[in-house]
């Protein structure tokens, strides 16, 4: 290993270690041995400037990306989460935009945080909001694009969605808690009685929006995203609607999606 590689490895080992780590003193000593003696502040302080900057920068990234989760946890638990996550998941990306991508899974698996599943749900919901915020741009199709297709071809029509469109499902009232905190209200007590589904997308003014989905709407959207065609989705809706109203429900819902800019293309096989 080159001397440059050795120094860099020892520097990173120092940054990644902290007082909870058995090797911390060893890492610190190894780095101190690399440093020249200088007047003014001590080697400890010089190293600590880098260690503090490393942790503060990553903590600020979590605060920025997960503002509402932070409010839900309060300062002490947020600090614990930030420290534990940063220790468990050093950044492997060029951009801080991806640093928290593993946070929902971490919170779901961590022995302490998994005792409260709503916390992981809140984190996952906020990741989805971010994904919708900077997803790729795309033109939107309109209802007239569907009308331009001959009606006998409609049963085989499939939909292509805007890249920002996502479905978020959870077994807690995380989104209701998120909405309450966003409005500076007290969040409701955690409730794990039912599964909830939400549609997230970026609206035409480039603001991220979300709306709750009924079981039928969820199944309809999921089926179209998975590539099912109009006929297959009408048939699926028979679980909630009779034969006359099912196609109408599908058309009306599609019309809303067109208006919201959710659909980028209608394709007929």
């Amino acid at each position: 290993m080159s001397r440059l590689a050795e120094i860099q490895q020892q520097f990173m080992a120092y940054l990644l270690s902290d007082e909870t780590n058995n090797d911390h003193n060893k890492c610190q000593s190894a780095m101190q041995a690399n440093m020249s003696q200088q007047a003014g502040i001590s080697a400890d302080i010089r190293l600590a400037i880098y260690a503090n900057a490393y942790r503060i920068r990553l903590k600020e990234t979590i605060e920025t990306d997960h503002e509402i989760l932070g409010r839900y946890l309060g300062d002490d638990l947020f600090d614990k989460m930030a420290a534990d996550y940063t220790r468990a998941h050093p950044s492997a990306n060029q951009s801080l935009r991806q640093f928290c991508d593993a946070l929902p899974d971490f919170l779901q698996q961590d022995l302490f945080f998994k005792q409260h599943p709503i916390i992981a749900d809140l984190a996952r919901f906020e990741r989805r909001l971010l994904n919708a915020f900077d997803a790729a741009d795309s033109t939107s199709a309109s209802f007239s694009d569907l009308q331009a297709i001959s009606p006998e071809l409609w049963p085989n029509c499939c939909l292509r969605f805007h890249p920002s469109v996502q479905i978020f499902t959870c077994s807690s009232n995380a989104v209701e808690a998120w909405q309450a905190l966003k409005a500076d209200s007290t969040p409701p007590a955690p409730d794990y009685q039912s599964t909830r589904a939400w549609l997230l997308w970026r609206g035409q003014t480039r603001l991220t929006e979300f709306a709750s989905l009924t079981a039928a709407q969820h199944a309809l959207l999921l089926g179209f995203i998975q590539g099912n065609n109009f006929a297959e989705q009408c048939e699926q809706m028979l679980e909630w609607h009779d034969e006359q109203s099912a196609p109408m429900m599908v058309l009306q819902t599609m019309q809303t999606w067109f208006q919201q800019g959710l659909i980028r293309a209608v394709v007929s096989d």
Partner: protein, 314 residues
């Protein structure tokens, strides 16, 4: 040896493009000469960040400034990152692309910090070779910026300014001189910042950064959360005297004020340049006159530090 003129044209006086100011810029179209964009903030597929960037890049010259090239790392160069940079540069056509002479990641772990390198022949050769590779991929010279540092290595065999100069010469790249970083490192390592300026080849200096810092007495940290202080303005004047008119911008990354306040602060930069070159040769005056910045009235309660410019003790 390179040709005597390897730099691109003088762009004038610019600011860092920050999210907080997107709307203001599009609505008021201030007469800023150019904007510097943080490349990593725009390596996303779409949405608001890209919309604003592209709208502003249509109206203003922009330059791209990155923090993740990790040019000094012993990890292989991240070709995916370089391809993403190249795609962004194709999209917004920046006047130039810069990053820092430092390392940020090793073994695939990113510190997201600008970590110092040992100043050795080995490091000069290593960094210069990687700069040449990057320049081949991007198809253009890049600018390398000096970083603030808080420690030095026993292995170092040369001063930072000699290291930067040797890398720039060996790689045939350009230099982005961060005046604040020179001041911060001078305080932390007890050197004379004028020595730094004297050793850098003026032919390679394409851009200046100005910024504020946090002064803790015994040491100084590069925080970009304060106005540019008198000490940095003073060094800026010395840099102008050494290098001539250089494209200059103010970096503000935290505690970001309203746009008019930064506009006023940038006026101070232009004012100092005008004073510096008031009695100068025709060529320098002509270069400075290409800047259109500073003729608009901005509403700001911000008070720019107008203390007289003091000479740095040599």
């Amino acid at each position: 040896m390179p040709e005597s003129i390897i730099k691109q044209d003088f762009l004038g006086f610019g600011l860092g493009l920050r999210t907080d100011h997107f709307e203001h810029i599009l609505q008021h179209q201030p007469d800023i000469d150019w904007f510097e964009v943080l490349s990593e903030n725009f390596l996303v597929a779409g949405g608001k960040p890209r919309y604003y960037l592209e709208a502003i890049a249509e109206q203003y010259p922009v330059v791209m400034h990155g923090v993740s090239m990790s040019i000094g790392s012993t990890d292989p160069l991240d070709m995916d990152y370089l391809k993403a940079l190249k795609k962004l540069s194709n999209d917004i056509q920046p006047k130039w692309i810069s990053d820092h002479i430092c390392w940020t990641s090793i073994h695939g772990v990113n510190s997201h910090d600008l970590l110092p390198l040992p100043y050795t022949e080995e490091t000069v050769n290593h960094v210069a070779e990687r700069v040449r590779q990057v320049q081949d991929v991007l198809g253009r010279r890049i600018l390398l910026e000096n970083v603030s540092s808080y420690l030095s290595y026993q292995d170092s065999t040369m001063d930072e300014w000699d290291f930067l100069s040797q890398v720039a010469e060996a790689a045939d790249c350009l230099v982005l001189l961060d005046i604040n970083n020179i001041y911060v490192s001078a305080r932390n390592h007890h050197f004379n910042p004028l020595d730094y300026l004297k050793k850098i080849d003026p032919r390679r200096v394409q851009q200046f950064h100005l910024a504020g810092h946090s002064d803790y007495g015994d040491y100084v940290i590069d925080t970009h959360d304060h106005d540019v202080p008198t000490s940095v303005w003073t060094l800026y004047q010395a840099a102008l005297e050494r290098f001539g008119p250089i494209s200059t911008m103010i970096e503000r990354d935290a505690n970001i004020p309203q746009f008019p306040a930064l506009y006023d602060e940038l006026r101070q930069a232009k004012h100092i340049a005008e004073l510096t070159f008031a009695d100068s040769a025709q060529a320098e005056f002509h270069t400075l006159s290409q800047s259109r910045f500073g003729h608009q009235s901005q509403t700001s309660d911000h008070k720019v530090d107008n203390k007289p410019i003091l000479r740095v003790p040599s």
